[in-house]
Amino acid sequence: MKAYDIVIIGGGPAGLAAAVSARKNGIDSVLVLERDKELGGILNQCIHNGFGLHTFKEELTGPEYAARFIAQAKELHLEYKRNTMVMEISPEKVVTYMNRTEGMQQIQAKAVVLAMGCRERSRGALNIPGYRPAGIFSAGTAQRLVNMEGYMPGREVVILGSGDIGLIMARRMTLEGAKVKVVSELMPYSGGLKRNIVQCLDDYGIPLKLSHTVIDIRGKERLEGVTLAKVDEGGKPVPGTEEDYTCDTLLLSVGLIPENELSNGMGIEMNRVTSGPNVNESLETSIPGVFACGNVLHVHDLVDFVSEEATAAGKNAAEYVRQNSGAACGLDGREVLPQKAAIELEAVAGVRYTVPKTINVERMTDKLTVRFRVGAVYKNCYVSVYFDEERVIHKKRPVMAPGEMEDIRLDKAKLLEYPDLKKITIQIEEA
């Protein structure tokens, strides 16, 4: 069986950054497997600008951002296969993939980086009553049709969900001559970035109806219209608030789900909140030597943070390969040193989850970024971090919203002062 030190599943922003980082950290034998016909992942269809302010200190479009990493990958002579679908990964890190030229193949990896990204929640997950006519698309599908295939999905559009892709598509469809009548959001706040509300909706006079949802879909062959209604605090439609809209297209921007079929197949321990793997400070999953980064780990808002996370994952995978060459395969009979019990990170009081979930202080970097999301909109609140019972971080935040990922940084030197620490709690506290 062919063997590689590191196999990276996915050639999008996460996979590319992980691959570049693994190579820069001294590992020559790296392979990227990508199912699409080109590298770059979802960035290729995100033709709008606003990417890369953190990473490159300039505002790039999605394809330009991807191209920067693809250029680095090519410069480093990274090996990659396109049009290649990974079918299965065994817990022993045997990767089974398939493509048209090689058929079905198996390779042995010493370390695996999971970077499969995410997919869109579909209509089937929403339980909207009504017919099932043509004309109902996920926003990302419409984005691919318009931006890459050159097809317009329709002319009169209603958008359900105010996630960033929905907002971006409201503008894109408008520019291409469609009439976007309304964006309807079930929650009392938008799931997208504030600036996208300004530059995608307000700029074009597209109304955003918060606490509204689609309660009926009409049309048998092609969509003819939808009914919107206001919802109460429990999310139930309020009788008497129904409004009919004629439209031939309904776009759904109702959430993204990490694509973890391969991770589940390996028996990796998953997180019920993120739908991604639980990882430690090294972004390593419950299977040693299997790392995860980007949207497969937890859905991000900004690709810059995906790149940052993936760079860390690639570096950690490289470190794992160096430390475990031989030992991992049990060849030299070296005993694995017992590791100190990891510190648990607990998300409570408004914090929905944390990435990572556990920390082994000895293995952490000097400054470790812990990313999390809040469960509701908070104004003038504090993010507090407790080491067991002691509050060690108390940071004021003017606004926090579920649509915008938050982070805090943990200091290794500080953590070393607490040798018996068992639990770190992150929570939101009112002012």
Binding site: T61, L193, V198
Partner: protein, 125 residues
Amino acid sequence: MVKINLICIGCPMGCPLTIEKEGSNILRVTGNTCPRGDAYARKELTNPTRIVTSTVAVEGSDVVRVSVKTREDIPKDMIFACVKALKNVRLKAPVHIGDVVLENVAGTGVDVVATREVYSLSDPG
């Protein structure tokens, strides 16, 4: 004096800006975290501009559309004219990032440039 509230679109932070204005005179911008916010607020109230992104048709490759952008921001009221002008543009592969797709789009003085690599069928990269 009037107070105007804007959300900065300079970066994903989306700072809430407050602009104090006397007639056409901008007295003070507050709420911004960085200088981009101040610049955005002043421009937005006098000459609002945007970067425009779209796609144009391309032949001779396995991709059929090339993503493009205005090299700089153009006046907001020229956005639709810009997109319309791009409707008739047909490119031939190969196309490289930064290649000028259309000069001086809709008389704005700003060029539209390609934002992706398009390889020709004979040299697929």
